[in-house]
Amino acid sequence: MFRGLVVNEWLKLIHKRRFVLTTAIFLAFSLYSIGNAYYWNYVKHPPKAPAVIEQELRSAITNTNKKLATVKPGSEEWLSNTEYLTDQKLNLEEQGAIKNGQWQVVAKKRIAVLEKRISEKEAAEKEVGWEYEELAKNKYYLAHNITPEWMYPGKVGGVEGVYSVFGSGALLLALMIVLMVADIVSGEMSDGTVKLLLTRPPGRWKILTAKYVTAVTSTIALVMVGALITLALNGLVFGIHDYNQPEAVGKKYIAKAVQNELGITEIRPFADGSGVKAIPRWQFGLAILGLLLIPLITVATLTFAASVIFNTPLVGMGLMTAALMGGVIFEARMGSSTLLLANFVTYLRLYAYLVTGSPVEGDPISPVNLAGAIAILVAYCLVSLAAAYAVFKRRDILV
């Protein structure tokens, strides 16, 4: 019986063309994103000939050597230029490996360089972040015998394209979910069809639960269908050969008191790469989708509650759109604050915890960790659901 109620709700969603509409809008965005990636990688920055790249690297090395001769050994500038020189030399060796296939040699050298650099920097209490990430990736190439991406110059990864679409499209997806869910209850109120629903044997809470289940499953379905189609399109255009390339996760930022140029102590974000590890790109993509689903389900839940509490779809839709857009604008202007951290919209970027440890762009130090962020979203869901059920259970249907 309950399954029948969910089937009913899904059929309504489909026949109202809500699901098709939202999927199509997301798809348009996805296509735009693919076009953009194509333009960026093949038109604006077309792959360079290997000879050109080698020539550029050689001149960079020559220039850096000249510069090093002029600066004081051991100074900050000398150190950074030495680092740059080492990296350019390794890059030049990569070009050789592309021809002879010996990427393992380069990877091993990189690992040695990075490990040395990390221990030196840590001894000097300097920031170490991306070095850990590079280290983890290079170790991953060797451990799993994965040919690094740089061995295929000019080849863009299609799998990477999928989750970059979802990362930048989180707000759009949230708006699509609002569009899909906003009239799930209030639409029946304003159309009067709620009378047909509530004069049947299943009680009100069952009807409402079937609708909530539909709101959540359709959210999941939208993300899944969107991901699959985006993957298929990216795969067609770029290929999915990069599915097993490593991605580094687990970098965090900590607050650290440092002296600035004027000798004043200030708190700065300091990268902490000690927890970094590499996971294959397909896993990374799934993790992003999973972390995206949590705030999106929260959006669906809040929209659902608004749809129960307000009898006109436009009110719920307006409120949710305003909350989402307002939240995003607020974040851009205000940076991190208690108010921002209490706002569910901030956690649309929950996936950012994977790579920076904070959902707030521009402020990588978050007093709320991932578990805390999820707890905040769950609290939003529980409170709004409690309100929705309480209102619906006893409401007089006077439409």
Partner: protein, 305 residues
């Protein structure tokens, strides 16, 4: 016999206003009860309470003995209804609408949808979107969804709204048949009095939230005297005259006619009085007291209940 519908001391206040006051009603299996009242009388409000859409402020409602709120599922399983307008899912076809309700009833057999669409005369259009239906066709589909799960009680709120005379007749026949042959109790609201008169066994008359009377149709039709309708040149003057005559009752003026109740043998006497007062009489007719007048009498306020 257990009533299919029983209202016990039902009252409803909306925003501190009394909309329905202390209603007691019983509808028995096989009986058609008309629920008559002018606009805003509280018919739809009462029906909303019967169908569980709103809660009475006080009192209890039972459908086939099941309390509408305490044993909701059992009560609703026995109920088929159209409340106010036949609002159906416009973006679904007629058949898809019925399938929705079949899933909610749980025990609707596979042939039932075809059978019911045939019964309400929608077979040809059942696979069209409801968006394309006329109002009358929506009423038919509304009736189909109400009857789909073979309820014991049918509650219809002004079901003939938007129907043509032919459809109205068909509906009346269907309701009578359902009541006679299947023993369904029917509660049908209307302010179209003639329509109720042709289908109901009993009539409950409601005004300003109060049930004024519940009467069988014969009782209503037989009580009181016959009416005399006199067409004259000076109706106001004639009416004043007649009001003074002891044997004339309930004198009213309607355009150039005066209408009153009096015994047939007194008619020549009345005519003599009119002629003596130099009032010209053009036409004299008798008519039987029909429900419409009774209804106006009952709810008209100034005239005795």
């Amino acid at each position: 016999m257990q009533p299919v519908l029983e209202l016990k001391q039902i009252s409803k206040k909306i925003k501190k206003r009394d909309i329905v006051i202390d209603i007691n009603l019983k509808v028995f299996p096989g009986e058609v009860m008309g629920f008559l009242g002018p606009n805003g009388a509280g018919k739809t409000t009462t029906i909303r309470m019967i169908t569980g859409l709103i809660r009475p402020t006080s009192g209890d409602i039972y459908i086939s003995g099941h309390h509408v709120h305490q044993h909701r599922a059992q009560a609703m399983a026995q109920l088929g209804t159209i409340v106010e307008n036949p609002e159906l899912y416009k973006f679904l076809t007629g058949r898809q609408n019925l399938q929705q309700f079949a899933r909610m009833a749980g025990h609707v057999g596979p042939g039932r949808i075809a059978e019911i669409s045939e019964m309400v005369g929608l077979t040809g259009r059942i696979d069209d979107k409801v968006r394309t239906y006329s109002l009358g066709m929506r009423q038919r589909l509304g009736l189909a969804q109400a009857l789909l799960h073979r309820p014991r009680l049918l509650v219809l709120d002004e079901p003939t709204n938007g129907m043509d005379p032919q459809s109205m007749r068909e509906l009346r026949e269907m309701i009578r048949k359902l009541a006679r042959e299947e023993g369904i109790g029917v509660f049908i609201s209307s302010h179209q009095l003639a329509e109720v008169q042709q289908v109901a066994d009993r009539v409950a008359i409601i005004d300003k939230g109060l049930i004024l009377r519940v009467e069988s149709l014969e009782q209503l039709a037989n009580e009181g005297r016959q009416q005399l309708v006199v067409t004259v040149n000076k109706p106001q003057q004639a009416a004043t005259l007649c009001s003074q005559l002891v044997y004339c009752h309930g004198v009213k003026v309607e355009e150039d006619r005066i209408i009153m109740e009096l015994e047939p043998e007194r008619t020549p006497e009345l005519v003599r009085e009119l002629v003596r007062a130099e009032i010209d009489v053009y036409e004299l007719t008798r008519r039987k007291f029909i429900l419409e007048d009774k209804f106006i009498d009952v709810t008209g306020g100034d005239i005795h209940v």
